[in-house]
């Protein structure tokens, strides 16, 4: 048995055989041709380019079917690369000048452009080399008659392993029979990671060279929560993973009956149950889990996917599509939140020495007016179709909120003047994810319509811990007195001003903390769809008095460790009592 460690990119576990997708680059053999054959060689190149074009168009159609029309945009640039004179004309010139075969000429022409891109020192452009290689690979395969069959999806349920998957590879593999992804390269924000999370497929990325040890047909266990892949698992591990998946099925079945029931405590307090969504394809799963609305619609994906700024019309199309699917349920649109760990170089955001304290969230938006206005206009227009709300990220004080709201008013005035349908009364809220915002919550509450806690950042900023630095990861302490005090005071400020307050951070999706959220007096929670039934179950089992009692006890603890211990004891005791009362059989809610 051997354990490979990587980055947990999409939660869940899987036990299955490996389907190894090898990305072997075609080996180019250089041949010298007699002069009379050169015209035919050039024709052969043009024919291959045409075939490659057709292949990409087929992929575009498939991606569109899987992810919606916006999902295919990533491949559109590949079509333009195929007809780039810089590459095509150069390749033709090389064939004629060097009397060589089309394969060698095309390879050389691409290499020249790639080295040009690598010289630019511009991260966005350097990454485009991946797109170039993707196109080169496709054209060479056509020229060599190799076909593209290597990237077919698995025929039986499998763990798909690869060094890296280009966007077009993911499209070719699809999701059928894919139980998990295990990749050598990549980060949480890479294309495959986003796709995996949205489809609920466990994924571990960044495994490094170790991925070569994942041999085709071998049984492996993938733990997407811990970021581990177990090779040659012993019988104990196999049994554990089997049990995990079995448990998952049992719990899902037991929680399914909760879908259409409200999250109401035994003493009558109702909590709004919303979901966090990143991609349009996630809506179906959210509704199946009983979502009453979308509490956080992240819009980064829409930008990331296009690798450029999507137009107002494109955004409007995507947003109204989601609104129709949600059929009258409310949707909170969070404006583009780049920066920090979500640096999108193509948007002009550069690597910073301290990105979490840098040019991100609302700071980026206010500095990019045309981009912000296009998004705001699209959201205001989508809101004409149903209940939508708007939320700004990374607010630290009133200046930012006021400036953002001024731009909102500007957009509304424009839309009215243009006679375009929109909702001028759209509710505008903010994320509470900086200690500053929590501390001046009373001032902010007077000038916005709702709050939503972003606990990942709130904890990181409050406890001054970089959440991407594993050495300080232990400081991720949701029940630290500093965090609880900030949240308690911000909730009080919101309610004093008569506005509602919710939460969309990871803390909301952890059943362990559900009672605390109830005790804090939150009006709604927004969670990962898969967690929604479990959180709902906790709410339906817990009285407000119990939850407030727990919070009060936690707040008497002087250290985070003491508070965690108290919470563990409380939950263990509660689980034991419930088991006793129910006669052992209890869904794993806590």
């Amino acid at each position: 048995m051997k354990i490979l460690r990587g980055i947990p990119a999409s939660p869940g576990t899987a036990l299955a055989r490996v389907h190894h997708v090898a990305r072997e680059l075609p080996v180019v053999v250089r041949t010298v041709l007699p002069a009379p054959d050169l015209d035919r060689e050039v024709e052969r190149l043009h024919a291959a380019l045409a075939d490659a074009r057709t292949q990409i168009q087929v992929l575009v159609a498939r991606l569109s079917a899987d992810l919606g029309p916006e999902g295919a945009a990533i491949l559109e640039s590949h079509l333009l690369i195929l007809e780039d004179v810089l590459i095509v004309d150069r390749a033709v010139a090389i064939v004629r000048a060097q009397s060589c075969n089309a394969e060698a000429a095309f390879h050389d022409a691409v290499a020249e452009v790639a080295s040009r891109l690598l010289e630019t020192q511009d991260d966005y452009l350097r990454e485009r080399v991946q797109d170039l290689r993707d196109v080169e690979d496709r054209v060479l395969r056509v020229l060599m008659g190799l076909g593209a069959g290597r990237l077919a999806g698995p025929a039986a349920p499998s763990v798909v392993a690869a060094d890296d998957l280009a966007p077009s590879d993911t499209a070719a593999i699809g999701a059928r029979n894919v139980l998990a992804f295990a990749l050598g390269d990549g980060s949480r924000t890479s294309h495959v990671a986003i796709l995996a999370r949205s489809l609920g497929i466990p994924a571990v990325v960044g495994l490094g060279a170790g991925v070569a040890e994942l041999l085709d047909g071998e049984l492996v266990a993938v733990d997407g929560d811990r970021g581990e892949v177990v090779l040659q698992p012993d019988s104990e591990t196999v049994a554990r993973f089997r049990q995990l998946s079995q448990q998952q099925l049992t719990v899902d079945a037991k929680l399914a009956h909760l879908r259409d029931l409200p999250a109401v405590t035994p003493d009558g307090r109702r909590l709004g149950m919303l979901v966090n969504i990143e991609m349009p394809v996630e809506v179906e799963k959210a509704l199946a889990c009983g979502a009453e609305g979308i509490g956080l619609l992240r819009t980064e994906y829409i930008y990331f996917q296009h690798q450029t700024i999507p137009s107002e019309a494109q955004q409007l199309g995507i947003y109204t599509g989601i609104m129709r699917e949600m059929a009258g349920r409310p949707i909170v649109f969070r404006t583009l939140d780049v920066g920090g760990d979500k640096v999108q170089r193509y948007l002009g955001a550069r690597k910073e020495s301290n990105p979490f304290l840098g040019w991100r969230g609302i700071r980026f938006l206010l500095a990019n007016r045309p981009l912000l206005k296009a998004q705001l206009r699209a959201i205001y227009r989508a809101a004409a179709e149903g209940p939508a709300q708007l939320m700004f990220p990374m607010i630290t004080g009133l200046e930012e909120l006021r400036e953002a709201r001024d731009i909102c008013r500007e957009c509304v005035a424009e839309l009215a003047a243009e006679g375009l349908p929109h909702d001028p009364a759209l509710e505008v809220g903010i994320m509470i994810e900086t200690p500053a915002a929590a501390l001046v919550a009373d001032l902010l509450a007077a000038e916005c319509d709702f709050f939503s806690f972003g606990t990942n950042d709130l904890i990181q900023y409050t406890l001054a811990m970089d959440r991407l630095n594993s050495r300080v990861a232990y400081l991720y302490q949701p029940v630290h007195p500093a965090v609880l005090r900030l949240m308690r005071d911000a909730v009080a400020a919101a309610h004093a001003a008569g506005i509602r307050v919710g939460i969309c951070g990871e803390m909301a999706s952890e059943t362990r903390h559900a009672e605390i959220l109830l005790g804090l007096g939150l009006d709604e929670v927004s969670v990962h769809a898969a967690q929604l039934p479990k959180i709902k179950q906790v709410v339906r089992w817990t009285t407000v008095a119990e939850a407030e009692g727990l919070l009060a006890d936690l707040m008497t603890r002087r250290t985070a460790v003491d508070a965690e211990r108290l919470l563990t004891d409380y939950l263990t005791e509660k689980k034991r009592r419930r088991a006793e009362a129910a006669g052992v059989e209890v869904p794993d809610g806590a």
Partner: protein
């Protein structure tokens, strides 16, 4: 031959899609269009060439246009690079 210049109006500079729009427009003219920026040179009919200029928003690129329809090409390209790139593309049809 016409020599002129334009200030890149696209908020994120010559990324792939902006370059794609320039290529599409340039290809509607017979004239050859050369774009220069910080000592780098690109054919305006090449998407990778334009992208590799790495011209940011606000940078001034020089254009050299040579051919039968150079006047029309110059006017159209200066307008696209200097003004229209700031706005989303209007879908065709």
């Amino acid at each position: 031959m016409i020599s002129t210049a334009a200030t890149v109006s696209d908020p994120i500079g010559f990324h792939l899609r902006a370059a794609g729009r320039i290529v599409k427009l340039a290809k509607t003219f017979d004239a050859e269009v050369t774009v220069r920026f910080q000592g780098r040179v690109a054919n305006a009919k090449s998407i990778m060439g334009l992208a590799s200029l790495a011209a940011d928003c606000g940078s001034v690129v020089e254009l050299e246009i040579e051919g039968p329809d150079d006047a029309a090409a110059a006017a159209a390209l200066v307008r696209l690079i200097g003004v229209d790139l700031a706005h989303p593309e209007v879908p065709e049809g």
